[in-house]
Symmetry: C2
DNA sequence: AACTGTTACGCGTACCGTAATGATC
DNA sequence: GATCATTACGGTACGCGTAACAGTT
């Protein structure tokens, strides 16, 4: 039996923002069935219901709202991993500073960390 | 091409603590080749070298040390996801408090969050 | 020889799209 | 009929263990 997966977490966040699985799937270039299946599996793994399924779409349950706060933090920290890599790659972090210069927009968005806050939290 | 995975992150942390891939694999009930492969892939995805490979084992590079800080945070927040679920499941969090009583050691370790700090950070 | 880490091969399985189903408006 | 979510089915791709390999002590 497979364990918790990062994709699941992204699907849940997108579904919560979209308000229904169909739009979430479209936004992620996936099929609706994928979202439905993965969300159901995460619910099973956590042992609780994250979404109320209605005929107009889905809505977070109170438990879902509690959980998704931490889910977003996981994803935000995950982005920080990439940034930590970029920064040390450009000589911004670490013990030895090489004279590497590199103009990359990704690096710019990593300097403050605010972009993730806006994106996930 | 597959994206970043939680397993990879756990493998990296374990390898860093173990000091070589063989012991890390043993600790995770896996084969050494699995650790080697997954670490290499994460390095490729991040575009930098996380470990210096020596004949006595492995050691984090400066970049590796920078990255692993955030990797541990991801894993710590991931544990918090499970705890958020448990707490709302036991009526500790959420808008409606039911009189659910449940003696579970997992719930106890979730109350402070310190166990994750000790485990990962 | 014992200990590292790396890599090709092959198998099992888990993921995902397709399509069919049910429910509501 | 147009939405919505769910689920069985089947092909594909990915992860992992086995085993062979190279280098160091």
């Amino acid at each position: 039996m497979p364990a918790m997966d990062l994709k699941q977490l992204r699907y849940v966040v997108t579904a919560a923002e979209a308000g229904n699985f169909a739009r979430a799937a479209e936004a992620l270039w996936l099929n609706t069935s994928t979202i439905s299946r993965r969300v159901a599996r995460l619910e099973e793994e956590l042992g609780l219901t994250l979404f109320e399924r209605g005929h107009a779409g889905v809505r977070l349950t109170p438990s879902g709202r509690a959980v998704i706060v931490y889910v977003k933090r996981v994803l935000a920290e995950l982005e920080m991993v990439k940034c930590a890599g970029l920064q040390s790659g450009t000589g911004r972090v670490g013990e030895i500073r090489l004279g590497v210069r590199m103009e990359n927009p990704l690096g710019a968005s990593c300097q403050s960390g605010e972009s993730f806050i806006r994106k996930f939290l």
